[in-house]
Amino acid sequence: MGKLWVISIASISILLPFLCNAFSPESPTDRRLLVLLDDFAIKSSHSIYFNSLKSRGFDLEFKLADDPKIALQRYGQYLYDALILFCPSVERFGGSIDYAAIIDFVDSGHDLIIAADSNASDLIREVGNESGVEFDEDPSAMVIDHISYAVSETEGDHTLIASDDLIKSDVILGSKRIAAPILFRGIGHSLNPANNLVLKVLSASPSAYSANPKSKLSTPPTLIGSAISLVSIVQARNNARILITGTLSMFSNRFFRSGVQKAGSHTKHEKSGNEQFLTEISKWVFHERCHLKAVNVKHHKVGETDEPALYRINDELEYSVEIFEWSGTSWEPYVANDVQVQFYMMSPYVLKTMSHDKKGLYSTSFKVPDVYGVFQFKVEYQKLGYTSLSLSKQIPVRPYRHNEYERFIPAAYPYYGAAFSMMAGFFIFSFVHLYSK
């Protein structure tokens, strides 16, 4: 037994440097994923999704959600970069994982995918709640849509929805358009309007509602129309990313392979859009794209190269920063026309859009305002889907020194003239007074 301990500690200490390297600011893509399942059957019934992750180089570890040995961290180090919760009905996680551990995991910048389902447990609902979404409280409710449902031979209660109301963002969903509708069967959720970090990626159609398909409705359902979100994403302030959805079957092989025909439409798609949609969005969630970094922040006076310790009011200065985007394998120059820099003291005095050279170098020049004090160069870059950049650099601005003002002012010539003529007069007068007879 003692020997075992020694061996395990030794192996951990050997592995530790590698484990720590997996997630770093230098290569932000996640590597190690923990997948928590209700049942190992999901591993096989959802294998296309898992295989697509594996083929992209992720290291998936499958565990039952109630496995008593699961843990997210050991000796203060996180063992995984991201967590996939495919366990909608788990009431209590096994091991050291609980609600607080998952929140801490995300708070430390790790990613999360939550798939709830009808009969989702309170625990999963709570984790969703913490991420800014609220699942329908009625445990038997499902999203029903009598107009844009998927035509099916075996099923007629219109809970299988063909949805194509996607967020218009190439950066989240990839540049290739998702042509086929996405199959969805599960529970809906709504977004907290006060939370501006959470985004609806796939929303239900205006005719959808969330109710129990088996019982008659007497009161209006709480979730209705396009306010129902089917799939949402969160980008936290620490750039952790979360994907929340009310369905597990959306990830299943059956939905991936199934053809789809939207009711009322005559085009029958050979394959649903699920695979493309979920693959693209998993690339986003696991930081394979839309992850920005800013380096080489520089500023100096026009015509100089060294960074001064402080500026004087009315100096002309140049500011530049290099921004790169992570492409999954390397850092590529980021090209956009809306990166802005602020010269900030309590409020922005100057806010200017920077020009770029298409190689990631953004620069601009402007004149220091004629207000002295401690300023900041601020770049607060937020764009839909991208990680936010927040750079700030403090720089004091001083007023003119006494000898830096204009020396000889033409308007003062009469005063100079008066003084000097007075002095000349005095000199002459001294002769006249003393020696004239």
Partner: protein, 692 residues
């Protein structure tokens, strides 16, 4: 506890995957395409012989002729394994299994070599798996080489030593040292024992066979069950041993049972609905995405298809959604699990129950017509009593030949959920504003709910609004849709939903604005109206804009609830901000330079006047000392004054105060000295002059 929970979750999964819980489809084309996708050889060959066998076996079951060309590479690795003397009995077993399908040629001497090595392995075997591989290998050789001289020397002894692993509950242990028993091992043991029976040179003791049959029925007693009637075997999750999962365990038991039933005479007495439940289990999991699971499923279904105990028949519908408008007919197909045709039989529809009132059947029992060409049982005209809605149809299958009853097993009654859809007639739709107290109609508008309407109404909080319409099913009955919502949306995007209630065919909602003022947050203005009517049975579900109503509501009192915050459009949240440029302080206004120069000139004028005045006065230097010493002092004095003035000029141009004061100090002392000398000289001179 953990297992039962997991089992329950499997059920959830099964239910969620195959929505109609009691409708199972036989293996379909999606399985075939999945098979080709899952068993794709890596660079022309599979990773192991076990995998090769699984791929070949799956292709064989499906009859996929156009199989990826793996036979050549499979044969190469088979002959390598068989020819090598270091191969374990497990390797040999899988090589022979793969060979049973690939049908490669095995060298005569090699096959002799393996027979002897397998025989040796049988006698040296100590665990169940040892027996399984070695006995299995021998059986395979026997089948392939069609030689009769292969048999076990001491079949009965081997049989007893395998039987020693059996437990009282029908499960088996892997070895005598391992106390854990499992159903998976039971399947393996049955297959091994079947092999021993077929290898035995003489008839085995019948009592051994009958105790074994007894074990099988005990094993089937421990079968586990889901709510939807599917059955499966499962083991306890044991630490330290690889847990197999219900799919592989059930598959293993079925393989063992089939093999054992094939070699014994006489019936194995098993409840027939258990076999059916197992078939439903395998069909219910859909298409597994894992090659191993896929093989277990297909292999088990193949066992069910060909076993000697009973062959399950599956009733499936080509479509569970029937449209009254398209006059869809009810088509039922009865097949075996792998989709091959069933023996001649008749299908009866014995009942149809509405999901609303479950008491009485809506139809008389009747037989479906069999269509020889398509192999379908068809009921052409849905009965008059069947209206739109969701139903549960109950079918009964009766085999025509009594002989078949012993071979095939079929549930006594199969319940199938059916959705009947149709066009619902919408009539008499109108919207009106009523005066509250009198109920008199102020303005009334007819609506056409199939198209967009453009009604514009106005009302104040003392009035009411009434919306009404009628829904009739194709059979002329009242129809009550699941979804009948009226939505009012204020300009500020605050939405209010109302459920439209009904009495019979008539749907009506009256909005009494007086009572709704608080709910509407006292927001006056334009409200867009939208009506949604939808149901699973309704083919013409609609979401239609009605128009708008201009509401004039009273001012909000101070404590009135505020409307909830509305979500912000995500697109507008981001994007560049407006640029800000600093407005610099304007420089002070100055006179033009010419003016300054002109005034400079003016300041010189008094000096000029002074000069002119001096000249006019006739200034002279007659008092300048004539003696050299006072003259020197006079010159020095004036040089000193000039120096002080010059110092002031330098002070203006470049010097600072301290430098100036320093120099001024020296100059001052000098000036005092020379000044005193010249001034006292001048004073003495003038005093002399006065006194004279």
């Amino acid at each position: 506890m953990a297992r039962s929970l997991a089992g329950f979750l499997v059920l959830l999964l099964v239910v969620s995957i195959c929505e109609a819980a009691s409708l199972f489809q036989p293996v379909s084309d999606s399985h075939r395409s999945a098979a080709l996708e899952l068993f794709t050889p890596d660079h022309g060959s599979f990773k192991s012989l076990e995998e090769t066998y699984e791929a070949l076996r799956t292709f064989q079951i499906f009859g996929i002729e156009k199989k990826p060309d793996v036979t050549a590479s499979a044969c190469r690795s088979i002959s390598e394994t068989v020819g090598s003397s270091t191969s374990t009995s497990k390797d040999l077993f899988y090589a022979l299994k793969a060979n049973s399908i690939a049908e490669c040629k095995i060298h005569e001497t090699a096959s002799k070599g393996i027979i002897s090595s397998l025989n040796a392995a049988v006698s040296a075997a100590s665990s169940l798996l040892d027996f399984y591989y070695s006995v299995g290998g021998l059986v395979l050789i026997k089948d392939q080489s069609s030689k009769d001289d292969i048999h076990l020397a001491d079949a009965e002894g081997v049989f007893r030593s395998v039987k020693a692993f059996s437990q009282s509950d029908g499960r088996w242990r892997y070895s005598s040292s391992n106390p854990e028993s499992s159903a998976f091992a039971a399947g393996i043991a049955l297959e091994t024992l079947a092999g021993i029976v077929s290898l035995a040179s003489s008839e085995l003791d019948q009592s051994l066979i009958s105790t074994l049959k007894n074990d099988i029925s005990k094993l089937f007693d421990s079968i586990e069950k889901y709510d939807d009637g599917t059955l499966y075997f499962d083991d306890k999750l044991v630490d330290g041993y690889e847990y197999q999962g219900p799919l592989s365990i059930t598959s293993s038991v079925l393989r063992g049972l089939t093999a054992f039933a094939a070699v014994t005479t006489g019936n194995i007495d098993l409840p027939r609905d258990k076999i059916l439940g197992l078939a439903k289990f395998f069909l219910g999991i859909g298409v597994p995405g894992d090659a191993k699971d896929f093989f277990y499923q297909i292999d088990a279904l193949a066992c069910l298809e060909s076993n000697r105990v009973s062959i399950p028949l599956i009733l499936s519908l080509s479509s569970a959604v029937l449209s009254l408008t398209k006059k869809d007919s009810l088509k039922v197909r009865v097949t075996t699990v792998l989709g091959s045709n069933a023996p001649p039989l008749t299908v009866k529809l014995v009942g149809a129950f509405s999901s609303v009132s479950k008491d009485a059947s809506l139809v008389e029992s009747q037989e479906l017509k069999f269509d020889q060409g398509s192999g379908l049982h068809i009921l052409n005209d849905l009965l008059k009593s069947i209206d739109v809605g969701s139903y549960t149809f109950v079918f009964e299958v009766v085999l025509q030949e009594p002989e078949d009853e012993k071979v095939y097993v079929m549930g006594s009654q199969t319940k199938v959920p059916i959705f009947v859809t149709g066009l619902v007639k919408i009539e008499n739709s109108e919207i009106a504003v009523l005066d509250s107290d009198l109920g008199s109609v102020e303005s009334q508008n007819k609506l056409d709910l199939t198209a967009k309407n453009d009604v514009s109404l106005s009302a104040n909080h003392l009035q009411k609004m009434r919306l009404s319409f009628q829904l009739t099913t194709p059979r002329g009955r009242a129809f009550r849709p699941h979804q009948a919502f009226l939505k009012l949306r204020h300009e500020s995007k605050v939405e209010h939903i109302f459920v439209v209630g009904n009495s019979g065919k008539q749907f009506e909602i009256v909005l009494n604005f007086l009572g709704l003022v608080e709910k509407f947050f006292y927001l006056s203005g334009k409200y867009d109206m939208e009506l949604t009517v939808g149901d699973a049975a309704m083919e013409n579900s609609l979401l239609v804009a009605i128009g708008y109503i201009e509401l004039d509501l009273p001012e909000a009192p101070e404590k009135a609830p505020r409307p909830p915050p509305q979500p912000v459009d995500p697109y507008s949240r981001y994007g560049p901000q407006a640029e800000i440029t600093h407005i610099f302080r304007a420089p002070e206004k100055r006179p033009p330079q010419e003016l300054s120069l002109a005034f400079l000139g003016l300041t010189i004028l008094p000096l000029l006047g002074f000069f002119i005045g001096l000249l006019r006065l006739g200034v002279n230097m007659k008092n300048f000392p004539t003696k050299p010493i006072p003259a020197t002092f006079a010159v020095l004095f004036h040089v000193g004054i000039g120096a002080v003035l010059l110092l002031y000029v330098f002070f203006w141009l470049k010097l600072d105060l301290f430098q100036t004061l320093k120099v001024l100090g020296f100059l001052g002392v000098f000036l005092v000295f020379v000044g005193h000398r010249i001034l006292s000289h001048l004073a003495a001179a003038s005093a002399k002059l006065k006194s004279a």
